[in-house]
Symmetry: C2
């Protein structure tokens, strides 16, 4: 494999700067992944320097091309490139907009502190740590999944806000570097299939075909004809036989950046740890430092000063500034001029665009939220569909869909003009994600990172299929709305494979995710208020398949209490309650009936609706104590899921009525009776507790 093809001295200098920075940083940290940055420095450099529409002094430019390092373990490649490009630090202003500063996002000291406490150069790229890190990557397949969402968002913005004379104003492209792992992971396959189906011509993946994995040669476990597979999935496939051949790389990127009708895969044949005499082309170079001696020997091969660490030659820096820097700045300035013209000509569209990308809500959006009456006997998935449609009209950038379950999850936006997002139609609101839950959620993260407010939907039990992406929504503080229906044994006949039992516990376990299990249509409405208002965390909305009544809010406390996570729905008298019944979702109705019986029998009962543990935990001690007073130890929680976590609210005397194992296939009323989730059982348990007091 040559090291000279098409490489001018200054290009070579810049490329070796990236390589040696990666080697030095990993060595200094004594931890990390040097081999891939060494292999992929040429393509990364050429892409950034010559192709990416990117102004390092304005990394927040909304129509910038986006670069995703899906092989996140090669994080030093990104940090070195951002450093060499002089990407500026950004900050959020009080009004929520983001501006660039004069400081560098990744300084030399940051590189030296790679993988150390407080450094923006974390082990894997972490979104929010530094400008230029477009998404958090590391879990394989997620970056390319995100890239599909980013490409969707770019197409959507271009279609939605493009106007005569400004057709291309909002167009941008997305490039992702990916590894064997990304290609082998199922989520990557789903993402590729979706991108091919949607004909995302603005998407390009560069596949690092290094034929090395952690266990050894890739051929141990992988023997796909990747080009053929991707062609079958609707991709335009190019090949670069030598990752050091800048001419071939330029040709491929030129072709990719001219594509309109298909996503492009560039299969890039590379050598891991290129240049390292002892470790090139070995899996030993994947996840461990090269070693001091090997670093030295490799620098010799590069013709690099052996004893200098973290060296960034001024010539390399200047060259990048004069190419990427100058090109990016001039493109961005030209855009600014055109955007001003656009703003004058299309002020409403411009204002809407600004609101979208800054996650601002229209002032009056909440007036769209409907109120339901006791005449509405609706499954919460159905009331959810009504609320979603009502607010969808007010929030133009609320875009989403289901994993081939929209008729069941009730997530189709059906108002006039909602339209679909498809290969033929780019500005619509309804996506058909196909039976690809994982890529759906991963794409939603990318959509959110690009300024859309995405919602995604599937059956609650299949939240297991998208969990790694859900975790990343939470880790990146992205306000993705997960609409998860068929939330318990209440779905009935489909049986245990489809009945969630542990999913409430599993979702509540994810830090930063707000789980909401509303009990009736008005709690659903309030759930949407809470979900949409928060722009810094994902929300899981957990909904029934079966119909439930709508509580009479003259008798019971207003559903606005939902925002506090738990609230007193009703109580008999002002004295200390003898027993507290706590319910969530559909089971709150059982509790309410039992409450009525207890009250009729003269027992001072209290009924608490507890749709969200996370919101409740955010309340102050006084509020929490007011809902669940410590001295009232006779408590019953009723939820058609497992007990895990409920002891926190039950205390040592409390009882839990729920599930202890998987469900069964039968009509749901029979299942509720079989598993003891009945008014009788709640009533009897309450009497038992009261008698025992």
């Amino acid at each position: 494999m040559t090291d000279t093809t098409g490489i001018a001295d200054v290009d070579r200098l810049a490329i070796d700067t990236i390589r040696t920075l990666a080697m030095d940083a990993v060595q200094q940290a004594n931890s990390g992944h040097p081999g891939t940055p060494m292999a992929l420095a040429p393509v990364t450099y050429v892409l950034w320097n010559e192709f990416l529409k990117y102004d390092p002094t304005r990394p927040q430019w909304p129509v910038r091309d986006r670069f995703v390092l899906s092989c996140g373990h090669a994080s030093m490649l990104l940090y070195a490139m951002l450093h060499l490009a002089g990407v500026r630090k950004t900050k959020r202003q009080p009004n929520g907009t983001i501006v660039a500063t004069d400081e560098w996002a990744i300084g030399g000291e940051d590189l030296r502190n790679f993988r150390q406490f407080g450094s923006p150069c974390a082990g894997h790229p972490e979104y929010g740590y530094a400008a230029g890190i477009e998404t958090t990557t590391g879990p394989l397949g997620q970056g390319i999944g995100n890239s599909v969402g980013m490409a969707i968002a770019a197409q959507w913005f271009a279609a939605r806000y493009g106007r005569p004379g400004f057709e291309d104003l909002f167009a941008s492209r997305v490039y992702a570097l990916c590894s064997d792992g990304d290609i082998m992971e199922g989520v990557g396959c789903e993402a590729a299939s979706l991108a091919g189906h949607l004909k995302l011509g603005n998407l390009c993946w560069i596949y690092d075909d290094n034929r090395i994995t952690i266990e050894g040669k890739t051929e141990l476990a992988f023997s796909e004809d990747v080009a053929r597979r991707f062609q079958g999935q609707g991709w335009h496939v190019l090949s670069v036989e030598d990752a050091n051949d800048l001419t071939a790389i330029r040709q491929a990127l030129t072709q990719a950046s001219g594509q309109q009708s298909q996503p492009t895969l560039i299969v890039l044949r590379s050598v891991i740890a290129w240049g390292s005499p002892g470790k090139a082309n070995t899996h030993g170079a994947h996840g461990s430092p090269l070693g001091e001696d090997e670093v030295r020997r490799t620098k010799q091969v590069y013709g690099w000063p052996e004893d200098e660490h973290f060296r960034v030659p001024e010539d390399a820096r200047r060259h990048v500034a004069e190419t990427l820097g100058a090109r990016g700045k001039s493109a961005r300035q030209a855009w600014d001029v055109r955007y001003s013209q656009y703003q004058q000509k299309f002020p409403d569209a411009a204002a809407e665009f600004q609101s979208a990308i800054h996650h601002q809500l229209p002032a009056d959006w909440e007036t769209a939220i409907p109120t339901f009456t006791t005449k509405d006997h609706l499954a919460t998935r159905v009331s959810s569909g009504k609320v979603l449609n009502a607010i969808g009209k007010r929030l133009p950038w609320l875009v989403g869909g289901a994993a081939d379950l929209a008729p069941s999850t009730k997530t189709l936006l059906e108002f006039e003009g909602a339209g679909q997002f498809s290969a033929a139609q780019r500005g619509g609101r309804n996506l058909h994600f196909g039976i690809r839950e994982h890529a759906m959620a991963s794409a939603a993260n990318g959509m959110s990172l690009s300024g859309l407010r995405p919602y995604v939907a599937t059956f609650f039990v299949f939240s297991d299929y998208l969990r790694p992406a859900l975790r990343l929504s939470a880790l990146m503080h992205q306000p993705v709305l997960y609409i998860l229906t068929h939330d318990s044994i209440g779905l009935g006949e489909d049986g245990p494979t489809h009945q969630p039992v542990e999913q409430l516990a599993a979702c509540r376990a994810i830090p930063g995710l707000v789980v909401l299990r509303p009990a009736d249509a008005n709690e659903v409405a309030e759930s949407y208020r809470v979900a949409i208002q928060g722009s810094d965390r994902p929300v899981a909305l957990v909904l029934t398949r079966q119909d439930v009544p709508t509580f009479c809010r003259q008798r019971f406390a207003p559903a606005t209490g939902l925002a506090r996570g738990a609230y007193v729905m009703a109580e008999a008298g002002n004295d200390v309650p003898q027993v507290i019944l706590i319910g969530t979702g559909s089971e709150l109705h059982l509790c309410a009936e039992a409450y009525d019986r207890l009250v009729a029998a003269g027992i001072r009962a209290r009924l608490v609706s507890m749709p969200s543990w996370e919101l409740f935990e955010q309340q102050d001690v006084a509020y929490r104590e007011s809902v669940l007073p410590s001295r009232v130890t006779a408590r019953i929680a009723v939820e058609a899921g497992i007990r895990q976590g409920w002891d926190r609210y039950l205390g040592p005397r409390g009882r839990f009525l729920g599930m202890e194992g998987f469900g069964l296939s039968a009509p749901y009323e029979e299942l509720y009776a079989h598993f003891g989730l009945t008014v009788d059982q709640i009533h009897a348990t309450a009497l038992d507790l009261v008698a025992d007091s």
Copy 2:
């Protein structure tokens, strides 16, 4: 689309029997999926009647061909076929072997009770409910994932136990019917890639290309050239243009059943709800009953008596008995004869084979479990690797591998003769699953269902990637061993994407899964004893990346206490303890140091190791009370994960030291200090609690 090609009257009769049984059962249940059984009845019938090596009177025959209905929602297709084939009910004998009875596995009454409480005909096929249901399906992609594991197991048994003159004695084939959903799901793509890589010639998938999904036409979300994609993944692809063309189906199945070197995909062009005048080729026929009138009209089309429900013509039954029944019985009887000869000639191999398929353990296997001394300062993943290798020698059918992480998870079987399982070598023990966690776990379920004892390994955080398959291990009671390493912030620099925080809670939430987080090498050894002894549930073994000391078991209680889930490691004096320190895994060592300090200061402390909540919950009240006495409310639990669920053991006064959110990238010692997981913190918290008593 024709309805006559190659169909003899009696075939037609049998096929329409299956179709109408499905229609009637779904109608009777007023719930279910009629369209796919109506479309796939011909291929299912031909496969069973003319190709499957299957004796309905011996459904437990170990070398039978296996049929997997990956599109599990079409469950009535399977139930109708099992009924028509007269598959017998099996029962387990006291010695653990399974024998067939004279009763039918699926009787006519069972069909009438489709989707009703207690029926073996559940909404989706549930393993264990009736003979002939080879695996639980419904969650899409899982059935085909299982089928890959079954095909691996079949190849393994054939290679391991085949002998000169008996080369083919243990050979069998695996057929799976799959839908768009199976093909679109990432796990299905991973499974296809793995099967192609391993050149599983004994595997055949029949893809129901009906071009209809729940949201409408498949083309809404899916436009792959499936044949091309599968060719890229190493499959032999055949096409049948008409699902009613029995001649074409026979030709394709003949080709598939002759394949040796590649798995086969048969793309079968079908019409959902074939024959239904109003619902054929519409998504309305997917998941709802046809309706009484439409059932009637469809029966007219079939030339079927309109008013008869659940009709099984005697001619159809007799024909299946004379073909499948006679062919299967004679094949099985011939096998019995040859197997007796084999048993005489190779008694040891035969005995080993019998032990494997009946999940029996060699009498002396436990003597292989090593004991560690305080000189061993090992990460628990390392001691795990040692124990796994030690017992692996004694358990020849313990077969497994990692998702490209074996050097990190320490799961390579390295003893002489362990070998690998690959396309070239079928009898080895080490599998390279590639970066495909989900297919790995799904295949492991299939391997386990076929009699192997599989283990699979990845980083703990990536248990999220395989969760749907893990859930099915638990639901099916399969003893798959999940070896999950890098179990906390203790992995250090890789940062929050790689640091499990909520995974302990999420795994503990799965009903029937035993989670073990051993604290040192001897607890690791005991974990393997527990894991291997149990043959009816999966185990998740959660292990550290970082080194931990080995407790001196002269000072501390023996590690055999692990089997009870929690045990008293040490305590000061015999009086009621003033404070109890509860630790798991690596954090138990912090507790032990704090314990020493407290005891030195004259405080009556107790140290409890709690490696498994599930095992602890299985103990009687007296034992649980002996470890965690109710009256001792000063309790501290220390675990580098979230609090969820710990309140059950902490009570209202207890304190928890753990994680409240995601981790960070830094050397692990700094992270433990930053997050307050230190001996000082435990010590101070204990003093605080004691002072407050």
